[in-house]
Amino acid sequence: MESRIPESRVDEIMERIREEIALRKTSERQSIPTAEPPSHTSSQSPAPSLLSEPPRLPRPLATPALPIRPSDTLHVNDFLGFSDSEFLTHAFHGVFRRPPQPDELARYLELSHVTGLPHLEILGRLRYSEEGKRQAVRIEGLCLRFHLHRLYRSFPRLTYFIKWLHDFILLPNRISALRRDDALLRNRLADQVEILSSATENALQTLVLRIDDRFRRLENKLFELESRIDIIDSAKAGVDSVDPLYVQLTELRNLPQEMVTLREKFARLESTNSPQQSALKEIQRHLDDLGAQVRDDSLLRNRLADEAKNLSSATENAFNTLSALSQEMFTLREKFARLESTNSPQQRALKEIQRHLDDLGAQVRDNKLHVLDQQRRMALLIEEARRRLPKPIETDQLESMARERDHLLDAQYVAFEDRFRGTRADIKQRQSVYIPYIKSLNLDIKKYPALDIGCGRGEWLELLADAAIHARGIDINRVMVQQCRERDLDVEEADCLEFLRRQKAGSLSVLTSFHVVEHLQHDILIEFLDEALRVLRPGGMIILETPNPSNLLVGTSTFFLDPTHHKPINSTALQFLLEARGFCRPKVIYLHPYDPSYRLHGSELAERISDLLYGPQDYAAIGYKA
């Protein structure tokens, strides 16, 4: 059976199911005599489910139909005990083997109703009519009883005696018949009671379930209504509270500034204040939360203005949060005031430290001036030495001198970077976007490492090391190189073109260069790209990150913070250059937009201006070697 093709089994199984269902339906119909006939619609009638359909109560048992079997012997009792019309139908069938004609039916009905002729006598008349005699159906017990009846009707005076005699003779029969009927009735009654009680129970259960269900639904409706009322209420409250909300919001906008000052003061306090530290940290955390929530709320405000629809729910939330916030702020301020006033010994210590710091600052300034002076003198000296040398200096000597001159400003550039480029953590966080690109390369990076040109303080190299990507870096700035080495990074002090020229073709898988190309002359940049293409493996990639002059603030201002910058490079131009110098699939990704809180909203103009001013500040051009 299992070895047969499943497809051919479908019909067989379906036919079996058809039989099963037919069988089940018949047996259901027998056990519950009121089952409805099977429906022949396409949507089949499933077994009644308690929830979905009204309960069906079984009707009381109908009188069983008389089994008319003409060939069998009939007994007179078979015909008795029916209503008039039923009796007549049976009697005609039994005696004449045909249904009664309408006129016959009417005649006999009248006879029975009006003259009160007993059924027995009607049956007898039928049987012993001409037609009845022709059919000659044998009906046991009819002959004697019919003729006795006739006798009794024709000689009414004899009746008492005959009746008595008749009854006396039939008494034992009657009694046993009565007993039989009694038992039968009792059984039937018991059956009916049972059926009824089970049906009632079912019906009750169903009712309970349905009531439960209704109740649940009602409850849900109620719930829904209540929540709607809440919404309406809160909408009303929201509308009322919008104006004060705006005022509060504008007040709250100044909070961040206030918080910054507060936090600075805290930081100072904290450093000298071990007993108060736990309390301070608590407050610090509150302040941080507060900061987040205040930003959050400015977001909410924008949405409030935009979407009147959200007012109803959002306003209430925002309002609650805000009032809680201002309350919290108030208590914080109070706490802080109290803290500050109770802190005089610490304050003295603070002032002391401040004085020390001031002294130190002065010293640093002096040192700086001193160093600058030294630098100037050195430059003069070198210049002087160059002039005084008796014979022309060899080219390499000149070069090395020139190089030394170049390095005079290295330290200053490091200071510059520290001030303007951002913290290590910032840079690493920003540069982490590139890691997936590197990981998606299908090259053996162990064999063909990554190279970072102008590695600076080595943030990227550290990121790569964290991601287990083999990499080295070069930088022209000696101080930076020194810093990198202190961090155990593989970095060399070298000029990028010189270094690239020394590398074998196809020896690197990735070449990155962050904020370098804007320092290069155009022809140097071209040579740099050509060398880069040469040293990359096929499939390798180049990433060049540089300031995005399409951002107006960058293009007009911040780009020129760095005096060593040569010229801003337009992203389309750099993408084109990559393509022109032989890189394939060049693309640009835009990075580092201003914090969204800078953006203006409310009109298309505001959005467009925001795009121009607060859009991406940097971009990266990416290309692959085919």
Binding site: V10, A47, T321, V433, P593
Partner: protein
């Protein structure tokens, strides 16, 4: 020329529930009519209350007279037992309780139950093979893999488009979770993820369901989480339009229009490794993120997208492009080709 008549045979559940499948039937009918055929949805009520009812369901589809049609497309179990010489199936699903959910529902099955399962397997496998069914398509990889595993039938995955498409892109503000609030859809995972989101980003949740109270309780102490209940189609479009990211983290979803709706709105989607079909649509780190199903990973991704709205925009664009090829036209073309009409 006379139009070809096509019957789309569908199953209407006895409880009258309407969901994604009904939108699917509508879309299919519209697409077939647009392709110049005369398509009707033939919907038959099916009761899966007990095994006898299931057998009757099978029989009522088996006995369905579809001789008036030139082609028949069946959909959900057990509509594919129909008898027609030109019958293909675009399978939504078989009765999962006899397949992948069997072991979970009946850890210790008794013999009769195993017999029932064998019977269903035999009927399904037999019905979905030629010559009873000329070709089987299915709505996604989850269904495809199940059909291959249990019935040995290699169906063709046919992704359809949204039946309703007004979606557009706006700003990038909040994390958005459109979801029936049912344990299989795991809104709780996202609510828990917010505990790891240390940024002023809102989580807006649309939908109702059995676990609503439970989820609200869970979110009670985070004012950034909003429950918006049931919303109109227009509001839904609006909510998608201004979302920063759409979260869709069900357990082994068969299809899930949420991914498509999010992508149509140019939003990145965060889904989970065990979410089923969405993982075939979302490309990790390209059009969203496929995270392990734990709150911390999800929270990290929400933070990341909040910090880098450019990334969110780029991923959203990638998502939109990735589903540009989906169309009802190509679906109807494939179906009609399989029917030879």
């Amino acid at each position: 020329m006379k139009k070809h008549r096509i019957a789309i045979v569908t199953v209407q559940s006895a409880s009258g529930e309407v969901g994604g499948a009904e939108r699917f039937y509508q879309g299919l009918e519209t697409a077939l009519n647009a392709a110049g055929t005369d398509a009707d949805i033939i919907s038959v009520t099916s009761n899966e209350a007990d095994f006898d009812a299931i057998k009757e369901s099978y029989l009522s589809f088996y006995d369905l007279d579809l001789s008036a049609y030139d082609g028949v497309i069946s959909t959900k179990a057990p509509s594919y037992v129909v008898r027609h010489p030109n019958h293909i199936c675009f399978l939504v699903h078989t009765m999962r309780v006899f397949y992948d959910l069997f072991e979970r529902e009946f850890p210790e099955p008794w013999k009769e139950l195993l017999d029932h399962r064998n019977l269903i397997h035999a009927l399904d496998t037999g019905s979905l093979m030629p010559p009873r069914t000329k070709k089987v398509f299915c709505i996604g990889h989850e269904v495809h893999n199940r059909l291959l595993k249990y019935n040995g039938i290699d169906a063709e995955v046919l992704h359809m488009d949204l039946a309703f498409d007004e979606f557009r892109s706006g700003d990038f503000h909040y994390a958005f979770l459109p979801s029936r609030l049912h344990r299989w859809k795991r809104a709780d995972l996202v609510i828990r993820a917010m505990k790891f989101v240390n940024r002023p980003v809102m989580l807006e949740i649309v939908g109702t369901g059995e676990q609503e109270a439970e989820f609200k309780q869970l979110a009670a102490d985070d004012p950034r989480i909003l429950f918006l209940g049931r919303v109109s189609d227009q509001e839904l479009v609006q909510l998608y339009a201004n979302a920063l990211v759409v979260l869709f983290v069900p357990i082994r979803e068969d299809l899930g229009f949420v991914t498509l709706e999010a992508f149509r709105s140019s939003k990145p989607v965060i889904t989970c490794t065990d979410s089923g079909e969405p993982t075939y649509f979302v490309k990790n780190e390209i059009s969203g993120f496929i995270c392990p199903p734990d709150p911390k990973s999800i929270g990290e991704k929400i933070e990341l997208l909040h910090d880098q709205p450019e990334t969110a925009k780029r991923m959203g664009r990638n998502g939109r492009r990735s589903i540009e090829h989906l169309s009802w036209k190509s679906v109807s073309e494939k179906l009609l080709a399989a029917l030879g009409l």
